[in-house]
């Protein structure tokens, strides 16, 4: 499971970020980010299709806005979660987080946002059918 989640974030080696990726994997920091991200994506998709759902929201613009919100929230979650955990880990050994990790955290946040978009698209396809007004969104 740990390997699987790491593969998603490291893009099967294509997105491996050296020391940052090692720290994330060794300290098992990918899992909570993935879990929060799935919960956020699921919650926003359900809210779009079943709670906010009304004829005026049943269009591509609002749907894409929902996806964008999900992606931004999860990018922030990834960045903040990784930053907080790494600061704590490095502090415990009396060191500071390396400066190069700032760029790596942004990359990690970006990758998490992209996975969120893909996940929300898949969830949309699964959840849309029973929506009262949006069962043909995105198609």
């Amino acid at each position: 499971m740990k390997d699987l989640i790491a593969n998603f974030y490291e893009l099967w080696g294509g997105g491996y970020l050296g020391g940052f990726s090692d720290q994330m994997f060794n300290n098992d920091l990918y899992f909570p980010v993935a879990l929060y991200s799935i919960i956020v994506a699921l919650a926003i998709t359900i809210i779009y299709y079943y709670i906010l759902d009304r004829p005026n929201t049943a269009n591509m613009k609002v749907w894409m806005l929902a996806l964008l919100i999900g992606a931004i929230i999860n990018a922030v979650v990834a960045f903040v979660s990784a930053n907080n955990d790494l600061v704590e880990i490095f502090a415990s050994i009396g060191e500071e987080v390396p400066n190069s990790f700032s760029y790596d955290m942004l990359m990690f946040a970006f990758i998490n946002a992209i996975w969120t978009l893909i996940l929300m698209f898949v969830l949309s396809i699964i959840l849309k059918w029973k929506s009262p007004n949006s069962s043909y969104i995105p198609f």
Binding site: R54, P55, A58, N133
Partner: protein, 467 residues
Amino acid sequence: MSKLYVFGIGGTGARVLKSLSFLLATGVKCNSTSVVPILIDPDAANSDVNQTVDILKLYESIRSKLTFNRETSNQFFKTDISPLNPDFRINIQDSKKKFKEFIDYQSLDKKNKSLVSLLFSEKNLNADLEEGFKGNPNMGSVVLNQFTTSKDFEVFASSFAQGDRIFIISSIFGGTGAAGFPLLLKNIRSASPTLNNHSHLQTAPIGAVSVLPYFGVKKDDESDIEKSTFISKTKAALRYYEHGVNDSVNSMYYLGDKLVKDYDNHEGGVEQKNDGHFVELAAALAVLDFANETDLSTNKIKEFGIENESQNLTFNDLGDKTKSDILKPLSKYYFFRSYLENALVENLNSDFAIRLDIKEQFLNEDFYQKLKKLNKHLWDWLNQMSTNQRGFAPFTLNPENDLFDNIKGLKPHKSIFGINGLKNYERITAGLNKTAKKMNTSESTEDRFMEVFFDTTEKLMAAKYKL
């Protein structure tokens, strides 16, 4: 399968048939499976008559694309309107002559000419029959007495079957209707043995509405039509009807109103185009009352009344029976028409439209275009009735507020949450989406289209007004 043959005589007859068509379009209950409208008016150019023919043709064409069976919940256009002939009119023979030519005045001897001069004025004799009888029933009674020999009347007799009913609409204060009604009644009750089904005709259940004066005409010295004669003509005719008509019909309806509004004085032709009036709507309700009547064993004379004396009537001013008959169907159709006019195009990407395959192409097809035309006529009629005197204005017709606030006298149920928290056309779209999900998509697009709007407006009436 019982048919209701509805004769509309003269301009008032045509306008009542117009009102009847609109009531049937909205789904007001009619127990006859088919209504056969027959217009009688020698005035070929009469705008009121021609407009009614247009509306009847539109109705017939729209109805022909719809299917009605046990599973159909849609009641819009439920009652079939079928024509006796393509233009819904009985053609009056020799009506393109002057009256004196029609009665062959020149060949009369001196004594008969003197008698004719006693009965008809010089103006009567020189009147062109193509322009109608211009408020002269003495002319009408001569000319219309021969329509029973017309081909159209023979077709009517041939198609008449046991169980069918006949209804005659006429005004009592004009020319064509006042003359035509007693003649038509007499010719049906004593149908010639040469006609097919003459025995069925003689014993047929017949209802009739005689419309007493309900509007006036402006003074015009050039015109033969004079408002001041309306009441005297009415009194004379009523005296005759008391013994010559009332006993020959199963149900006789009398309607009238104060002479509140004076229309422009047109003797006939293209300029005779009176605005829709509540009395015509009430007369159309008399037709439906007769169609739905189960006991026709005794002769009945009926009058129509309203609950509250008001110059601008709303649903709450009507009697309970009338209110329950028309409030819901008219209101549902009001929402239907408003949505089509103001919201449908923008909602072709909505759930219901995609699910039911209602696309832009459908809006360009003959069915929808004709529905749009009929709706325009209906809207004009509602507008005219609302500004006429006495007015009937149950809806706000140019709304700027929430659509559901527009049935005057009804307070819509409002909510903050759920589907009832939505306003205006968005609420209707949400209802359409919900209804469409449960619909049978194997029906034709036209059937699906009408069904989804009928069912949705039905639920809206329940949710918003507890009706």
